[in-house]
């Protein structure tokens, strides 16, 4: 038993204490959080815009009279559909490498490239979530807004979208958690995130157990923490319904 404990201790010292290897995990953690946070911001902003376009087209395109407005909406909607198909139809790590090696080939700021790449990826998923939220707001809300004299954009922005976002907020928070784990592929383009931190230690010490378990634990703690926050948020939102 003491022998087992001693070997665990030796492994721990080798993997984390020696040469201050724990710093790879520590700095990697913040890289992961930074990428996730900014990617989610991009994702929600862009995703909401796409969702508004898509739901507007779904509801109104068939009733609209032929004219420039209809043509523009049709074109923008078509573009959004293409975007969703391409982004959701390809793996995020491939998108990341295309952004890194092809689209932003000349940029040296790999973290920014990762943020844009994960953000654009997340936007596609957020768009579908928010579209569901917009569609779930009773059509009577739109009709009431229009009959009170708001134009379509005002009705959408002031009445429908706030209600929709409130409905989908838990799902959006969940997107944050999913993205947090998805960023673990950032190491493919030499970004030193949390997973890469573990990989660097593994490469130096050749011992798989400690670094992998440590990385897994840190992700788990982060996800449990954010899930708890989401749960709290959900309860608060439910209270405001009364």
């Amino acid at each position: 038993m003491t022998e087992w404990f001693d070997s665990i201790k030796a492994q721990f010292i080798l993997n984390f204490i020696e040469k201050n290897r724990w710093r790879y995990l520590w700095t990697g953690l913040f890289t992961t959080l930074r990428i996730t946070f900014f990617a989610v911001v991009i994702g929600i902003a862009l995703g909401t815009i796409i969702a508004i376009v898509r739901s507007t087209a779904d509801r109104n395109l068939s009733d609209m009279h032929p004219g420039p407005g209809r043509s523009i909406l049709k074109f923008v909607d078509g573009f959004c559909r293409l975007y969703l198909t391409v982004i959701r139809g390809t793996p995020v790590v491939i998108q990341l490498m295309i952004f890194y090696y092809v689209i932003f080939a000349s940029s040296r700021n790999s973290e920014l490239i990762a943020i844009i790449s994960f953000g654009l990826n997340s936007a596609a998923y957020v768009a579908e979530v928010v579209r569901g939220g917009i569609m779930s707001v009773d059509i009577g809300q739109t009709e009431a807004g229009r009959s009170l004299g708001f134009n379509y954009v005002q009705t959408m922005w002031l009445i429908v979208v706030p209600q929709a976002l409130k409905n989908v907020l838990p799902a959006l928070a969940n997107e944050f958690i999913v993205l947090l784990k998805e960023t673990s592929v950032a190491g493919y383009v030499a970004i030193k995130d949390l997973t890469k931190g573990g990989d660097i230690i593994r490469g130096a010490t050749y011992s798989p157990f400690m670094p992998l378990i440590a990385v897994a634990l840190i992700y788990l703690i982060l996800v449990v923490f954010f899930s708890w926050l989401v749960g709290k948020l959900e309860r608060r939102l439910r209270n405001s319904d009364h």
């Binding site: 493919y188 990989d199 660097i200 593994r202 130096a204 010490t205 798989p208």
Partner: protein
Amino acid sequence: MKKIIALVLIMMFCVSGLAFADAKPELHMGTNANFPPYEYHEYIDDVDTIVGIDAEIAAAVAEYLGYELVIDDMEFGAIITAVQTGKIDFGMAGMTVTEERLESVNFSTTYATGIQAIIVPEGSEITSADDLTAEGKNYIIGVQEATTGDLYCTWDIEDEGLGTVDRYKNGADAVQALLTGKVDCVVIDNEPAKAFVAANEGLVILETAYAVEDYAIAIAKDNTELLDKVNEALAALTEDGTIPAIIEKYIPAEEAAE
């Protein structure tokens, strides 16, 4: 219906049993086949095969010991993990012995010597290995993750605060990053470096090497039986000229003398 399916399954088991009855036991080798000329993919008779110095030496060792060699292609960083967990019997991927790696696995005797070379774009201001550790330059150095080039650069340069090390999943990615100007140079084994420079215009290898090192085969700590056998095979195959011939085939002597 069920009976028929059961019957078919039983027959299949019998047939597969027969097929394997007189086959040799398998010896699994783990490698990262993106590392010419030590290991890389090539179509031989329309079959995707892993070839190279390591692959051929491993095949010779396996034949000497009476095993059937099976090569598993994996990420370089995953090889040692696979050795330790027993998913593969040994790892052979141009690996160098270091103190820390010896804590986790055993290494065979050396079968080849490697050089860590520096690749730079033509006309780069980096002209020797010393430039990389120059104060205040803060070069970005591309490496293949978990290779010795990565370790050396991490110790000498990143840990000393003299520059940044960007770690890619394989050598080709690091060279791609060099071509697009994301890194200032790539530190990688000399042989793959030559292959990369030959394949991409505008890149050169510096005359001064970053480091010289010995390659060995990684085997699990508790598998000393295999370690002894492999060492015996390596000694015998070096003796009878098989291993020198394999190395000569991939790295002709006049080229190695340069």
